[in-house]
């Protein structure tokens, strides 16, 4: 210990330089679906889409791999977003009434999203209009007018303010007050004294001087900006939230709307109706609709819109329908993967996936999903260019879910893509068939509902939840372990098959007496031959008894062995012979809590006890008060004083922490935390052989020497002889902290390769000459012990020095940016404070550490997965993985450009000057191939992009309008977009109620009228 300290103090400049070449921390990309989306925008010219969230994040997506991320400094909800068409600029309105202009700016060789200007309204803008002082307090809506050179802000006070674009400077004296509007409105259209807040603003399609204003009291005005008078006036009611009208060459126009459902009972459904000629489909989603748009021609000279696709942003997913293919099938999205379609319960990363396995997984995935017709549309959102190199290696991210599925994601690049989904539920008898009958009953109804989307957070049976996953990438063998102690061994098959799954159970309690399991029952498997589609097909089911959740699992395909552990013990199973090899109980005799059931029960018991005690104490206090009140005045005064003092005292009572070493009989000490297979020296220094290692919550490590029959040369499978396991070593760490990982290091101090890796020449063969060592990582310290004689060699006491505890560890290979061949093995460690540390191996010397996750983000810390090449993933929300890299060389981040035609020269120069603001991804990217692309948008290439045109032709489909009534007469020759943003803006309930005057039945007739 002392030695290391001294060495660390004398920082060796050469080592420091090497560290800089090896390690660098970058948060690179967010995978998955933005949590709590609140706004959507689409630029039909550049074909890019923006999504804003309730936490102030802005994400722009184009072609696969084209992604830009920005984060507002204040965590406010993005309520509205508008693209300045063709300019790569996005105007955002937050619910704190601030406006921000974001620009996609070329930086180095690729483009980045940066905030250029912002506007925060002050309570007094200082304009003295003749008709009362207009107050720019709460901005409700925003609209780009006059060819995008001005922005109109609708406010809660009913006034409309104008800002200069793109500087976001308030244009004094142009403010349009409600009184001004009222003066030019006929008397019978004046609903009440005031018009109410501005709810909607919408530009005129052909005449840029006209603007439609919708007030919350129901008045709609088409205002002529040039003449300063009302052009037309209507009264509106709400029933339809948003409607799009799109013309087609064939004459049958598309009408797409949300809301306006025929029955009040459909109020809890999330529907978008698509109507074309006689075809009506009501898309029935599983989560709330945020907004939708169509991808269509935006060329002015095109007479018809010819919508290609409909994109609907829902609270939990993005659904895109191909409107050109009959049946309007859904298009699989190349990004925005709904990771959380069922809650993620575990994840694992597999690096360097062999091409063969990759192809087989892709093919299995293709067989799962209906194949798109050959004429089908390709992904319609195509803006920007992905400049990232093809990934050098294939990476697979596996996520286990609450509903018993395992999803295989292509994590090689920036866009996380679902390759294949494995479901284990069909092996078990669960009562999940009732949902189908419900769906059928609904189908008899009008309108014709069609279920769309895959977000389904409801699990049929919590016992199906996947707890641990392990995959052998060479043999395509896999083990999936779940909440009810089920351990499934699966094998990838390219053909569907029908077969019987053999079932075995392993009693982990053995002959321990006096324990009763109070948790859930084990799952009952379906018997007889079962049909399995192509993909991973179960071969063996092992059920742990008692059926507690599996806490650790490991697989060795070369030996056909699977090891698994629960809170009661661990077992070893030979899946070739389908026979158990070993089971061992790890329970401490005094540990009765482990028997009660799932962990949460234990916690909740303690909690409920604490709560009931508090309740008792409270009731005593209040009882006292009541008696005091009845007494004399003096006592009353005293009581008042006491009452004042009482809450004060409660605040002062400090949180205390007990200082006591862990004892052997702490509850849940028997939980098996990690399992590991290694070919190493356990018996003596001359003979190595298969070993199995298990670590528990109480700092115990068990090492078994295994006798595995050796496969004859050329033979794939090992001979049919029983595997034997003999306990070789038992280590009890004195500090008794939970053992989180075990790894054996070879003679050169490198971790042993994975099974088959060396024998198939895919990794350097381990050094079997020099002395091996075992690295045991506990929650408090790392220690390297010699083998076969176990004696401590090096250690690092993390908790004793830093006061933090180990949550996740992994061995990773770090390659140098300076020298391609130079690599080092490091121990990456995530602590309970959310920091990532890297230690040298086997010296265990601290190298670098970085803050990574907020320490309060417990689920983020718990979800972290490290890859073998120094990257990592953790959940930043239930639906998003943040990807980070610790390696200076191995970085996966978006590298993309956008070809922007600059409408004004001034705008271009200003962009160059714009100050760089901090961003979510504000990290310098490593250019893999700098000569391939330069930062300046190429005018030739931008011509090639599908839409480049003068800005006056563009009118954002996000423009906004208020509710329409049946007698609305719109000029519908062009592209009309009518919508009500009330729901999206979350305006006051009162104004919403005032508009809800029309019954749902009337709404139906209105939809027909529009048709």
């Amino acid at each position: 210990m002392m030695k290391f300290r001294f060495r660390r103090q004398g920082a060796d400049p050469q080592r420091e330089k090497l560290k800089q070449e090896l390690f660098a921390f970058n948060k690179t990309v967010e995978h998955g679906f933005p949590n709590q989306p609140s706004a959507l925008a689409f630029d039909p010219e550049l074909r890019i889409m923006a999504i804003g969230t309730r936490t102030g994040a802005v994400k722009i997506y184009g072609a696969p791999g084209v992604e830009f991320t920005g984060l507002h400094r204040d965590t406010a909800t993005v309520t509205q977003m508008l693209f300045l068409p063709g300019q790569g600029c996005l105007l955002t309105l937050l619910d704190d009434s601030s406006l921000h202009l974001w620009e996609i700016v070329p930086r180095n060789c690729c483009a980045r999203l940066e905030e250029a200007h912002s506007f925060q309204p002050t309570s007094r803008p200082g304009s003295d209009g003749a008709s009362g002082p207009p107050c720019l307090a709460r901005v409700t809506v925003v609209l780009l007018v006059a060819e995008g050179s001005m922005a109109a802000l609708g406010t809660e006070s009913g006034s409309i303010f104008f800002l200069d674009m793109p500087t976001l400077k308030l244009l004094e004296g142009q403010t349009l007050s409600p009184d001004e509007v009222l003066q030019s409105v006929p008397g019978d259209y004046r609903c009440g004294k005031a018009l109410g807040p501005v709810e909607a603003l919408q530009g005129h399609l052909r005449d840029p001087t006209k603007m439609l204003i919708g007030y919350s009291r129901g008045l709609l005005v088409i205002w002529n900006l040039a003449a300063q008078c009302a052009h037309r006036v209507f009264l509106g009611n709400q029933a339809i939230n948003k409607i799009l009208w799109r013309s087609c060459v064939s004459g049958d126009h598309f009408i797409i709307f949300s809301g306006g459902m025929p029955r009040a009972s459909y109020g809890d459904r999330h529907c978008v109706s698509v109507l074309r000629a006689e075809t009506l489909v009501t898309l029935d989603f599983t989560s709330r609709i945020i907004d939708f748009f169509t991808v269509h021609s935006s060329q002015l000279e095109d007479e018809f819109d010819e919508p290609q696709a409909l994109a609907v942003l829902l609270e939990e997913e993005l659904v895109v329908l191909d409107l050109q293919t009959p049946g309007w099938p859904a298009l699989p999205a190349p990004y925005l993967a709904p990771l959380h379609s069922s809650a993620i319960t575990c994840s694992a990363h597999v690096a360097n996936v062999p091409a063969k396995l990759w192809a087989r997984l892709v093919s299995a995935g293709e067989q799962q999903s209906p194949q798109p017709a050959p004429t089908a549309l390709s992904w319609p959102i195509t803006g920007g260019r992905n400049l990232a190199q093809e990934p050098l290696q294939r990476g697979l991210l596996l996520t286990g879910h609450e509903d018993g599925t395992v999803r295989f994601w292509d994590a090689s690049g920036v866009a996380l893509r679902l390759l294949y989904k494995l479901s284990t539920a069909s092996l078990f008898q669960t009562d999940c068939d009732h949902s189908d009958s419900l769906a059928q009953a609904a189908e008899d109804d009008w309108p014709p509902f069609r279920k769309v989307g895959c977000f389904d957070p409801y699990s049929d049976d919590p016992r199906l939840g996947v707890q641990k996953v392990a995959l052998c990438k060479y043999t395509a063998h896999m083990v999936v372990a779940g909440t009810a102690g089920q351990v499934l061994v699966l094998e990838l098959s390219d053909m569907p098959s029908e077969q019987v799954v053999s079932v075995a159970s392993v009693d982990l309690l053995q002959d321990r007496e006096g324990f009763t399991w109070k948790g859930h029952e084990r799952l009952s498997p379906r018997t007889g031959p079962l049909p399995w589609p192509a993909g991973f097909q179960p071969r063996v089911l092992v059920q742990c008894l008692p059926p507690a959740a599996v806490t650790a699992v490991t697989l060795h395909a070369e030996w056909s062995l699977v090891a698994f552990g629960t809170s009661h013990g661990f077992g070893l199973f030979d899946y070739q012979r389908k026979s158990p090899v070993l089971s061992r109980c790890t329970l401490h005799p005094n540990d009765s809590l482990a028997m009660e059931g799932p962990l949460s029960r234990v916690k909740s018991l303690k909690k409920s006890l604490r709560q009931s005690f508090r309740r008792i104490r409270k009731s005593r206090v209040s009882g006292k008060k009541r008696t005091v009140i009845a007494n004399s005045k003096l006592q009353e005064a005293n009581a008042q004083l006491a009452e004042q003092a009482c809450p004060h005292d409660m605040e002062v009572t400090p949180v205390q922490r007990r200082i006591e070493p862990r004892s052997a009989d702490d509850s849940l000490s028997g939980v098996v935390r990690c399992l590991y297979f290694a070919d190493t020296f356990l018996r003596d220094a001359t003979h190595h052989g298969p070993t199995m290692w298990a670590g528990t919550n109480s700092g115990s490590v068990f090492a078994y020497a295994l006798e595995v029959p050796v496969a004859t040369a050329g033979g794939e499978k090992r001979p049919e002889r029983a595997v034997e396991a003999v306990l070789g070593k038992e280590v009890q760490l004195m500090h008794r902290a939970p053992v989180v990982a075990i790894a054996v290091l070879d003679g050169r101090g490198r971790p042993l390769p994975e099974p088959y890796e060396a024998s198939r020449d895919l990794a350097q063969a381990p050094d079997m000459q020099g002395g091996h060592a075992v690295l045991i990582a506990s929650e408090e310290q790392f220690k390297v012990f010699t083998l076969p004689k176990v004696s401590a060699k090096t250690k690092f006491k993390l908790t004793a020095h830093e006061g933090c505890r180990v949550r996740k560890v992994a061995l990773a290979t770090f390659a140098s940016v300076a020298c391609e061949d130079y690599t080092e093995t490091g121990l990456a460690c995530l602590t309970n404070l959310g920091d990532v540390h890297i230690f040298s191996v086997p010296g265990l010397r601290p190298q670098v550490h970085y803050p990574c996750i907020r320490k309060e983000d417990i689920s983020g810390i718990a979800s972290c997965v490290f890859t073998r090449h120094g990257q990592g993933f953790y959940l930043i929300s239930p639906s998003e993985f943040e990807r980070f890299s610790l390696s200076a060389r191995n970085i996966t981040e978006p590298l993309c450009s956008l070809d922007i035609s600059w409408p004004h020269d001034t705008a271009h120069t200003r962009l160059q000057e714009s100050p760089k603001l901090s961003q979510a991804n504000g990290t310098p990217g490593v250019v893999l191939d700098p000569q391939k692309h330069d930062g300046i948008p190429d005018p030739v290439l931008s011509k090639g992009a599908d839409t480049v045109e003068p800005p006056e032709a563009s009118l954002s489909p996000m423009s906004i309008d208020s509710a329409i009534s049946a007698d609305t007469t719109f000029d519908t020759t062009g592209d009309v977009t009518v919508e009500d943003v009330k729901d999206f803006l979350g305006s006051s309930e009162e104004s919403e109620k005032s508009l809800r005057t029309v019954a749902e039945e009337e709404a139906r007739t209105r939809t027909i009228l529009i048709r």
Binding site: I659, P661, H735, T799, G803
Partner: protein, 304 residues
């Protein structure tokens, strides 16, 4: 105190010191060089030699100036015995298997005769109820104040030795704030404090820690800037050999050193922190070596 004795002894005799050793009924007399007493092992050998009991395990005791029978079993107490002997060092030797441990003790001068007679006539001693104190080698340290020489007087570094599980460490910590003297004047800073001592626990039984003592360091690592949970984890991780530096809430029992001007024992403010931290750190490193190498490793099962 011991300083004055050393001084007195030095002036009394010229270099050599008379030793009178008794084993059973036999006495031996010999002399030792006071300035170079040598090691206990050598002295032990010498005693075995002069009494002609080379292979007999014995316990060695001596009568100190108060007449207490005190053991000699290591270099420290041997040197102490030599340095305090005035003028004669009286040694009492017992066979280990016949040893009467209760004879050792810190009885007062008045009981001197009785103590010695007890040793001489072991059957006598049962009449008097003694506090039974076992041999020092059977003791183990429970706690100690360490690094007094390098710490400011207002601080106390306490080492708690936790063996087995029979006695809990028995204390709790909490968040709080303390007032510090900084270049900008008085400043309130967050700190960690001892909030509770469990009756009968190790912490309470040592008397070295008290409620409201501010915890400044845990095993040489400053706790400032660390959360309560971090400090808790650090303490638990070091619980087998816990060294905590505290600023006692009660500043009256501080060790006053000669080297510094005394009189700072009152409610002193802590400006010393600024001057000292560099010195504090290194003294801990050696402690780490022996702390937890004692992981239990069971090897060589029947199968091997």
């Amino acid at each position: 105190m011991n300083r004055s004795h050393r001084h007195g002894a030095g002036s009394g005799c010229l270099g050599t010191m008379e030793v009178k050793s008794k084993f059973g009924a036999e006495f031996r007399r010999f002399s030792l060089e006071r300035s170079k007493p040598g090691k206990f092992e050598e002295f032990y050998g010498l005693l075995q030699h002069v009494h002609k009991i080379p292979n007999v395990e014995v316990l060695v005791g001596y009568a100190d100036i108060h007449g207490d029978l005190l053991p000699i079993n290591n270099d420290d107490n041997y040197h102490k015995a030599v340095s305090t002997a005035n003028p004669l060092l009286r040694i009492f030797i017992q066979k280990k298997e016949e040893a009467d441990y209760s004879a050792f003790g810190t009885d007062t001068l008045i009981k001197k005769k009785n103590v010695l007679t007890n040793v001489l006539r072991p059957d006598n001693h049962r009449k008097k109820p003694h506090i039974v104190i076992s041999m020092p080698q059977d003791f183990r340290p429970v706690s100690s104040i360490i690094d007094v020489d390098i710490l400011p007087e207002t601080h106390r570094r306490v080492r708690l030795y936790k063996y087995g599980t029979e006695k809990p460490l028995g204390f709790y910590i909490r968040d709080g704030s303390s007032v510090r003297v900084t270049p900008h004047g008085l400043e309130k800073v967050p700190g960690i404090f001892i909030s509770r001592l469990v009756p009968g626990g190790l912490a309470q039984s040592t008397g070295l820690l008290a409620v409201n003592d501010e915890v400044l360091e845990v095993n040489g690592i400053e706790v400032s800037g660390k959360s309560l949970d971090q400090v808790t984890d650090m303490m638990i991780a070091n619980s087998r050999n816990l060294i905590i530096t505290v600023r006692p809430a009660n500043q009256r029992n501080n060790v006053v050193r000669n080297s510094r001007t005394s009189g700072s024992s009152g409610q002193s403010t802590d400006n010393s922190l600024l001057g000292y931290p560099q010195q504090i750190e290194p003294s801990f490193e050696p402690e780490d070596e022996d702390s937890d190498e004692d992981d239990i490793i069971i090897e060589d099962y029947s199968g091997f």
